[in-house]
Each structure stands twice: as C-alpha cells, then as structure tokens.
C-alpha cells in the first residue's frame, strides 16, 4: 500500500470551484491534482486540490489572482 505523506489540501465551497481550480492550474502549470475531500477533513463528498506543502504560496496566489475562494486550507496525510 502506498505510504501516506503530509500534503496541502485546499477545500472549496462548491464542486465547480474545484473544477475551475483544476482548469486554471493546468493552464498555468501550477502543481497539484484534484482529489476527493479527505474523510478526516469533512463528512461531505466534494472535491479538493492536493499539492505539496511547499507549493502553498503559489497555489494561494493563483487562487487570489483568478478569484477562487477557498473554504479552508489544510495540511493532512493523503
């Protein structure tokens, strides 16, 4: 089984925000990938953006730039 590592997980208010995040990150070559919101974070079943902890600033910058509002930013094992 793959060993879990600490990652940055950004959650959103809506699924469409997460989809918009994926689109903009692909366009701008921002690192990360779409994952289901980890169960440890939420009982909901939405999508979240997962990246390395070191990518935090770059990710938050691009979100601010395009106006995608995060629900929360977590650090958790993924």
């Amino acid at each position: 089984m793959r060993k879990k590592v600490m990652k940055l997980v950004v959650t959103f208010h809506t699924t469409s925000d997460a989809m918009a995040m994926e689109k903009i990150c692909k366009e701008r070559s921002v690192p990360g990938r779409l994952i289901p919101v980890p169960r440890a974070i939420s009982a909901g079943c939405g999508l979240s953006w997962c990246a390395d902890l070191t990518d935090r600033e770059q990710i938050l910058d691009v979100m601010k730039d395009v106006g995608i509002e995060q629900e929360d930013v977590h650090e958790c094992l993924v």
Partner: protein, 365 residues
C-alpha cells in the same frame, strides 16, 4: 474507528451494510427490494396517503432509521453541520426527477446493485444507463455547472427532517392514521424493530463511509479514484454470497417475483435519468437521506422532492410494472413502462439538460 483511511475499511463498511440488507431480506422485505431508497420512500408516501396505489403503502422504518442513524452519528462525532441555501427549488425538482427515473426502472441505485447481485440482467442493462447518466453529469460539472454554495444556518434548520421522521415513526407505531398494504410489496416487510435498527446501522455506516452510488462513479470518471466504489463493492459481494447461499441468485431477464421489467431502453433511460440528476444534486437517493440527516436542508428539500415525485408517479400512472405470474393462468405477464412514464422520463432528461447547462458557476468579478 476511522472507517475511511483505507479501501479495505471502506469495503468493510459496505460489507456491514450488505449484511443489514441481507438480514432484512431474510426477515421479510420483498425479494430483491431488501433495501431500496426509492421504493421505501414511495411506500412511506403511500402510507401517508400521498398516492393511492394500495399495494405499495407502508411507512418503512428503514427510511426513518437512515436519517436518524446519520443524524445521531454526526452529532456524536461532531460532524453535524446545519447548512442551506444552494438553489433549493432546483434541488426539489431534481428530487422529483430522481424518483420518476427510479420508478421507470423500478429501483434506486442501491436496489440496482442488489438486483445485480441477484443475477437480474435487467439491472446490469440499467447499470449502463446509470454510468452514462453520471458521465453526463460529470460533463456538466466540467463545463462549470453549479447550484451555488450552501451557507451555515441555525442548527435547528438541519434537524427538521430528523424531527419529521421521528413524527412519522410515532404516528406509524402509535396510531392507525397511516395506510398499510394488505397485499403486494407493501405488505412484505421485516418486523418494525428490525427495520428500524437496520436503518440506523446502515445510516451510521453510510455516513461514516460517505457511501454514494453516483459519487463513486463520478470519482472514477473525474479522478480515477476508487475509494467510494470499494464501499459498493463490499455491499455487492455480501449480497452476491447471500443470494447464492439462499438460492436467490437467478440469472435472467423475465424473472417473475423480483419486481423488474425487461424493457431495456427504459431500464437504461430510467437509470440514466437517476444518474444524471443525482450528480447534479450532489448524491444518489441514499446519500441525500444521509446528508439530510447530518444537517443539509438542501438535501432535505431533495428528499421532499422524492416524496412528491413518488406521489406524482403513482397518481399519474408513470411507474413501471414488474414481470409477474398470473395466479389463475400461471402465465408470465411481462412488466412494462406505461406511455405516461416514457413521456415523463424523456421530459425529465430534457429538464436535467436545461438545469445542467443553465446553472453556471459565477466567475470572479
């Protein structure tokens, strides 16, 4: 115990839910309807007099247990969040649509999987439609579909549906106000206490594992993520073993007694409608009940839509009939979808497309 940190534990949650369904089937629930959200909401609506189909009227304690199980476990583990405000009337319409699609097929996605595990090939045909429906919903998501965000509301708002189902339970057990079928599927049920406990356990495990039939397919298509499907796989395997062990596993299409029909196109389109609408609503019928239990008023509105949808189905002759054995002639009478049901199903698909492609995410200003 954390049920969600590995696929094995998620599958275990599915196994527990499968055992609950198998027990309820053994204790008297109708064949291949061991645990069906659409059918049981329809039966409960019938018991309350929302429709007059005499063979499907019974206040199913499983539905009550599911909502309460999710409510109790979410409060106990501090996951209860009272939220509302994400396009409630569109969600109501999606609830109606989900129910119409489900009753054209004759079952919700949960029952589709139970029927698949019993060898019912009609359910396997419908599964194709379900995948296509979820796929269409995912396409809409990729194109910016959104019903808007939900907001935190007063805690009491999210507790309304759990309170209502407690009221239904009290009325069903302490009064004679509710109707109860004397024949047909509505007359076949496990003892009340078993159904209620089964619902509570199923609801608690479904809340913890985030079990969702539409979500599991959505996650595979969108992210190649197989976490949620492992819950469904656990459920399927248990029911498969149960059906084989008890001689209920019969491979075939026109099998009398399993409450199914073999109009392939309408099995596909019925579940296409359910899959499409479920992705737009953010979860399958089971998931809507669980989300409503853990505080989502938006999901509660979808559940109310499903209640009204079931009444519409039976009051306007939309629901399909199952293949049955004529008791006098002993001939097999093929089940069918009535013309009204076919027209309604097409209208529902059109409405899903309108909802999917007219509700867009608001771009940042």
């Amino acid at each position: 115990m954390n049920l969600s940190d590995s696929k094995k534990k998620l599958a275990l949650a599915g196994v527990v839910c499968g055992i609950v369904a198998a027990c309820l089937a053994a204790l008297g629930n109708p064949a291949n309807m061991a645990f069906c959200i659409a059918c049981f909401i329809r039966d409960t609506a019938g018991a309350m007099g929302l429709h007059q189909a005499e063979v499907v009227q019974y206040a199913r304690p499983e539905i009550i247990g599911l909502v309460l199980g999710a409510f109790i476990i979410s409060v106990a583990t501090k996951e209860y969040r009272s939220t509302a405000g994400s396009s409630p009337m569109i969600r109501f319409v999606l609830g109606v649509i989900i129910m119409i699609g489900a009753l054209v097929f004759l079952g919700c996605p949960l029952r589709m999987v139970l029927r698949m595990s019993a060898g019912d090939l009609n359910a396997w045909v419908a599964f194709v439609g379900f995948i296509l429906g979820v796929g269409t919903g995912v396409f809409a998501l990729k194109n910016g579909f959104s019903l808007g965000r939900a907001h935190i509301t007063n805690k009491s708002s999210g507790a309304v549906l759990p309170a209502v189902v407690v009221g239904i339970l009290i009325l069903a057990t302490c009064t004679t106000l509710f109707k109860a079928s004397q024949a047909g599927p509505g007359s076949m049920h496990a003892p009340i206490i078993a159904s209620l406990v089964g619902g509570l356990v199923f609801g608690a495990f479904a809340q913890k594992s985030r079990m969702c039939f539409a979500g599991s397919i959505r996650d595979i298509i969108l992210m190649k993520n197989f976490d949620l499907i492992s819950v469904i796989a656990g459920l399927f395997v248990v029911m498969l073993v149960f059906n084989i062990a008890t001689g209920r596993f019969v491979v075939g299409f026109n099998t009398p007694g399993v409450i199914a029909h073999s109009e392939h196109l309408w099995n596909i389109l019925g579940m296409y409608t359910v899959g499409f609408a479920a992705v737009l609503a953010g979860g399958c019928p089971l998931r809507q009940l669980i989300l409503a239990g853990q505080g989502s008023s938006d999901s509660a509105v979808t559940v109310v839509g499903m209640f009204v949808g079931s009444a519409i189905c039976h009051n306007f002759g939309l629901a399909a009939s199952g293949t049955a054995l004529n008791p006098e002639t002993k001939e097999v009478v093929a089940g069918a979808v009535p013309v009204n049901g076919k027209v309604a199903c097409i209208i529902c698909i059109v409405i899903c497309f309108i909802i999917a492609f007219t509700n867009k995410r608001e771009e940042a200003k």
